[in-house]
Amino acid sequence: MLEIKDEGGGSKLLSLSGRLDANTGKQLKEKIQGMVDKDDKRLILNLSGVEFIDSSGLGSLVACYRLASKAGGEIRLCCLQETVRSLMELTRLHRLFEIFDDPEAAQENFS
């Protein structure tokens, strides 16, 4: 189960919790597509509640990044748990994203 909570704000902060894998990644992609369609193009994904991620989950983050980029937007990540950070480094996908320790730092980076 993946829960996505829209925290609002100038740029949109989404808090994710649960598992991010081949089964739940499509939920995330649909949510991001919906937001990009509504012209929300500055997105921060708070991953502090993501307790498990696999390569399909990472793939969904890459897909979201590309959805936003294609529309002229940007996605930042923040609050990665160690298991998430470690898998991101193993797959070298940490080089694609801008990653911050907390939502405030990600928010400031957009300013």
């Binding site: 189960m1 894998d21 081949a22 089964n23 390569s55 399909s56 793939g59 890459v62 070298r92």
Partner: protein, 140 residues
């Protein structure tokens, strides 16, 4: 050797069930000092189950998961009924272009000590071994 098994329809909706089953099975096979590898084993099962469903024909067949172990090693077998593949023909992930997929087998090979793939009576079997101590037979 203690053994746990679970057979499920090849549906990606059942991934979290397979993952939960594997985590509990591994927990009961490992002692407290080995619990640090639980996350890796859960990850490996998630990758293997996803591939089994994806390439085994989602919704068509079954996926069978077996987990067994002793003090020396822990073995995970993921079986599917798809067309199968050649382990040595699977390409490396496309790291330079930040590919959305293609990391599964790479992750499995990184996290496990021994990866074998066989076909037996309509089943493709991915055998994954994790040695639990440095002196285990077969450990390099």
């Amino acid at each position: 050797m203690q053994e746990f098994s679970l057979t499920l329809p090849a549906k990606i909706e059942l991934l979290s069930l397979a993952s939960h089953f594997s985590k509990e099975a591994c927990k009961s096979l490992l002692n407290s000092s080995q619990s640090g590898i639980l996350n890796d084993l859960e990850l490996v099962v998630s990758e293997a189950f996803t591939n089994a469903v994806k390439y085994g024909g989602e919704g068509k067949g079954k996926v069978a998961l077996e987990i067994k172990g002793d003090k020396q090693k822990l073995i995970i077998c993921m079986k599917d009924q798809g067309k199968g593949f050649k382990l040595d023909k699977v390409p490396e992930p496309d790291f330079d272009n930040f590919a959305e997929g293609g990391y599964g087998l790479y992750i499995i090979q990184t996290k496990m000590d021994l990866v074998r793939y066989t076909c037996f009576k309509n089943w493709n079997v991915l055998h994954l071994t994790k040695y639990l101590n440095e002196n285990a037979p077969g450990k390099d």
